[in-house]
């Protein structure tokens, strides 16, 4: 194993090489872990503030300047809350579920490249790693629902898990697109492949599909069956109280922003921004860009009503899944054709290499791919609109019939 940076310094200072390496890795992990943990404290404030503005309220504004310290006050409140474990619960699994839930989200941050030089672990299967780790969160919900020994919790968990696994299919098919374009699953390689052109311009449809399914994966409106107060009392976390409930809560908040960061890495070019390329600024660009999908997510969450489970499932299986499959196939076909006619930048071996090309070289390819995406979208949007009009007409007809029946 290589030994550089802190590890090298420690070894020269007389520390055992193995220990030095362990210490340097431990420090790295602590640094990487701190970022999401500090972020989540402020995210809760930001989310509440944005939600309040959308709903024409002020939001938290009493504790600290602009209510900035509200989250700390809530944290102290949660610390002092009684934590009840139901007598009939499966104690071991009941306590393990919140830990697994937060750990699953935190683990994603291990592969997030903060700047060109600072990345936790640049795994060459990074994209697959994050899908695998995120699936641990699904298992955590299942465990929580089952271990609570509560009918509502179990039913809620079952519904949510069925929803989560369904939406994982379009998510992963959309993920295939940046992997295919970059020719690598490593997060760092995927960002480098976007040095000339962000993937959102080459594959906007994949970006939108990824966004929609990640919105469902975090359990946010209109897919927030995870929080079904009106149907199932509360859903899978009904029996949880105190800090354990807080952990599920924190995991959800963090997951939303984590998805924003992932979308930035996969589609919005990560730390790249025309002109400015310094480590600290790169970190800032990543954070700022991550706020775009994050804000849109909050916006949707606070404006759209919740859908019924059958509608959500229908939307996934009859719309998102086929669309994401078709999207991958069309993109693969077009990339192959463009490579044949020489519009795709290639390296010496004749393989596609987007990382080495500039903006101008990538422009023709981007225009073709963008237009193809728009062309896929036009009939789909038309069909969706027609379906909407038909359904509205049918509902209207039903209402007039009822009104007439009542009048008789």
């Amino acid at each position: 194993m290589d030994c550089t940076g802190l590890c090298e310094v420690l070894t020269q200072g007389g520390t055992d090489p193995g220990l030095a390496q362990f210490l340097s890795i431990l420090l790295g992990v602590l640094l990487v872990v701190t970022v999401p943990l500090i972020t989540v404290i402020f995210l809760i404030w930001i989310e509440r503030k944005i939600a309040a503005r959308i709903q024409d309220r002020l939001g938290p504004n009493r504790v600290g300047p602009f209510g900035l310290l509200q989250t700390f006050a809530d944290l102290i409140k949660l610390l002092a809350k009684e934590d009840i474990t139901p007598a009939s619960a499966d104690r071991l699994l009941y306590n393990a579920a919140p830990l697994l839930s937060l750990a699953a989200v935190a683990l994603i941050w291990a592969v997030v490249p903060y700047t060109p030089y600072h990345v936790g672990a640049d795994l060459d299967i990074g994209a697959l790693y994050f899908v695998a780790v995120a699936s641990l969160g699904t298992l955590a919900i299942m465990i929580a629902g089952w271990a609570s020994n509560n009918k509502y919790a179990l039913l809620g968990a079952f519904r949510v898990v069925a929803l989560l696994v369904s939406y994982e299919i379009p998510l992963v098919f959309a993920l295939l697109v940046p992997v295919m374009l970059a020719g690598s699953m490593s997060m760092v390689d995927i960002i480098h492949a976007q040095s000339g052109m962000w993937f959102i311009f080459m594959a906007p449809l994949a970006g939108v599909l990824f966004f929609i399914s990640s919105q469902a994966e975090t359990g946010r409106a209109p897919f927030d069956l995870i929080e079904a107060e009106s149907e199932l009392v509360a859903g899978f976390n009904i029996e949880y109280s105190g800090m354990k409930f807080g952990m599920f809560f924190a995991a959800e908040f963090l997951h939303v922003f984590t998805n924003g960061v992932l979308i930035t890495i996969l589609f919005l070019g990560g730390w790249y921004f025309p002109g400015w390329q310094m480590p600290l600024i790169a970190f800032m660009w990543l954070g700022l860009k991550a706020f775009i999908p994050y804000f849109i997510s909050l916006w949707i969450r606070n404006t759209v009503p919740r859908l019924r489970i059958d509608q959500v499932m229908k939307f996934n299986w009859f719309f998102l899944v086929p669309l994401s499959i078709v999207n991958v196939l069309i993109l693969a076909f077009l990339v192959m054709v463009l490579k044949e006619i020489g519009w795709v930048p290639v390296d010496e071996t004749g393989a596609m290499a987007l990382a080495q090309a500039g903006f101008i070289e990538l422009l023709p390819m981007t225009i073709v791919l963008f237009i193809s995406n728009v062309l896929i979208c036009v009939p789909i949007v038309n069909r969706l609109r027609r379906m909407g009009v038909e359904q509205r007409a049918a509902r209207e007809q039903l209402r007039t019939q009822r009104a007439m029946a009542a009048g008789d």
Binding site: V33, F173, K314
Partner: protein, 120 residues
């Protein structure tokens, strides 16, 4: 060995990640009131007393969704190497991938036709 170094990072992370949520829960254990009683620790089902067993028989529908997801999961896993290698593949490889996806889409269309995927 360089690759294992990256994974050593993940390994340490794996140990540390569950400890993070343990810390606040432990902190809460220090401060929180501990006055449990029989009524509090009952199962909360909207105030009504719990009737019967929670772990009852569920509908087969969940199982079908699980199975279809499993098939798609395996398919996606096989498609990832294809996508990673796509930048250096020929037209033949595209055709192979197309056939692979097409064969599986058949099963999806079958499921549509049979109305399996409609939530009831």
């Amino acid at each position: 060995m360089d690759v294992l170094n990256e994974w050593a990072f993940i390994g340490v992370f794996l140990v540390l990640a569950p400890i993070l949520p343990v810390l606040p829960i432990m902190g809460a254990w220090l401060f929180r009131p501990k006055r449990a009683n029989v009524l509090k620790s009952q199962t909360y089902e909207c105030g009504v007393e719990t009737v019967g067993d929670t772990w009852v028989q569920f509908r087969v529908q969940y199982y079908i969704y699980g199975l279809i997801f499993l098939v798609f999961d395996v398919e996606m896993v096989l498609l990832f190497p294809w996508a990673v290698a796509y930048h250096k593949l020929s037209f033949f490889a595209f055709a192979a991938g197309l056939l692979f996806i097409f064969l599986l889409t058949d099963a999806l269309i079958y499921a549509w036709r049979k109305g399996i995927l409609i939530w009831r």
